[in-house]
Amino acid sequence: MKLLSRVTADVKHSPSAHSTLDVLWVLYDRVLRITPETIDDPGRDRFFLSKGHGPAAYYAVLAAKGFFPEEWLDDMGGWDSPLGHHPDRVLIPGVEIGTGSLGHGLGIAVGAALGLRAQGHLDTRTFVLLGDAELDEGSNHEAIAYAAAVGLPITAIVIDNHSSTHGWPGGIPARFPGWGVSVVNGRDRDEIERSLRSVENRPRLVVAAL
């Protein structure tokens, strides 16, 4: 994608920048009910990028969808740029949370889904994207167990590019007891879309394997 190389032109092409690209494109192109015009709509779908490091693909997708000007991509990390090496929701239209420290997004997503439900936004969907190494953070497991216990219909996407130092013996789905699970090819956009469109009365995990 041209826009992605525009972001990463003067930065080393990192695997984390590219690992999320297909999932993010499918989300914003085919699944999420959110546009640049509805970023403040209380009933908009929510997407939380928990894995805030390597946000190049995220920025490229948001720019491609018109959330901010493509010119912003040329100066990521610059003093005058709203785009940091970790995204800041206060600075970037369409970004729902500021992340970078791993292990925060899933808990916030659980809270947002609860808040949306309490306010009657029953058709609003909540998605959160994590990395497989990020799962090492124990805070995720507080959220995983609670979401399953209360049957909260959020969708967590874990990009599995085997970057966790000690790995996850038994596979990532084994860490999500009580969740509905799909394991998909993280480069197959149609397969990703099918899994993201699926809704259950409980939390769902989509493992995007690379």
Binding site: G107, G111, A112, G115, L116, G138, A149
Partner: protein, 295 residues
């Protein structure tokens, strides 16, 4: 104070559909009726304090007003980075209400004590800190917090003064010489310790933001004493800023950094930290030196 928190928060949940309560098992039994009435706004996440903070941030991001509650050490100390990043960094707020204070749970040991909670919040921006000195001060504080979206910490304790003083500013209880500021439940011990000293005694239940202008107005001698029910010196920087340009000497009394590896009662720990009337008297007298005693 905990009982007042429970009844007031239960009423707030009934009255204001924007409010939510997030618990991590502590005090959950006391909110079963509220939970039955508002199952989608009274949320017990189990023994998961990092999640409690994250859920609070997520609720606030959708426009709700979350109240979070646990022991101070679990609510603040344990989940410090969640408090840092899941609220202010997201540009949202919450109302954090703690019990346990510095050593209310004396017999439970250091694991249940949080002398450093206010100091931890002092590393962050924009937290209003209330340290009520009487149960009757609690309801107004909790109700006011429902009316906006700022970041508020309410530090409840089993230690109380004999009577309440309402409002956030500095209350002057005795006028005289050097200023002695008592925060929250430290007022009664300070009044007793300084009974026959020529000092001014002022009280606040809202140490953050500190009423620095009021403080400066009350200083009539170079001496100032601050007595806080949490880590000694927590307010030293702010007092120093408030009095910058004025020649002054300050004494900051509070809970010591060294862990007291004894159980016993809250009063035993107050004594060990020199925060009982006799201990305060010794420290204040030694600091003020030649100030004449009242007749």
């Amino acid at each position: 104070m905990r009982e007042t928190f429970i009844t007031t928060t239960t009423a707030i949940l009934d009255e204001d559909p924007r409010t939510a309560l997030v618990l991590a098992d502590i005090s959950a039994d006391s909110f079963t009726d509220a939970q039955r009435r508002h199952p989608e706004r009274v949320l017990n996440v189990g023994i998961r304090e990092q999640l409690m903070a994250g859920v609070g941030g997520g609720l606030a991001l959708t426009g709700m007003r979350p109240y979070l509650h646990s022991y101070a050490t679990f609510l603040i100390d344990r989940a410090y980075e969640q408090i840092k990043l899941d609220f202010a960094h997201q540009d949202v707020g919450a109302v954090l209400v703690s019990i346990g204070a510095s050593y209310d749970a004396a017999a439970e040991g250091y694991t249940h004590q949080s002398p450093g909670d206010v100091a931890l919040l002092d590393t962050l921006d924009g937290w209003t800190v209330h340290v009520p000195g009487h149960r009757d001060e609690v309801a107004a504080i909790l109700r006011e917090a429902a009316r906006h979206d700022d970041r508020v910490y309410v530090r409840l304790s089993t230690q109380e003064n004999s009577r309440p003083h309402h409002g956030a500013g500095l209350h002057v209880l005795r006028s005289g010489g050097p200023l002695v500021v008592a925060v929250g439940p430290m007022l009664d011990p300070v009044l007793e310790a300084t009974r026959d000293l020529d000092v001014t005694v002022a009280y606040t239940n809202t140490p953050r933001p500190l009423d620095t202008a009021g403080l400066r107005d009350l200083v009539t001698t170079p001496e100032i004493v601050v007595v806080e029910p949490y880590l000694a010196g927590t307010s030293a920087r702010l007092v120093s800023e408030a009095l910058s340009g004025l020649p002054h000497r300050s004494l900051h009394l509070g809970v010591g950094r060294t862990e007291v590896r004894r159980y016993g009662s809250r009063d035993d720990h107050a004594r060990a930290h020199g925060l009982d009337p006799a201990g305060l008297r010794r420290s204040i007298e030694a600091f003020l030196g030649s100030w004449t005693q009242r007749g």
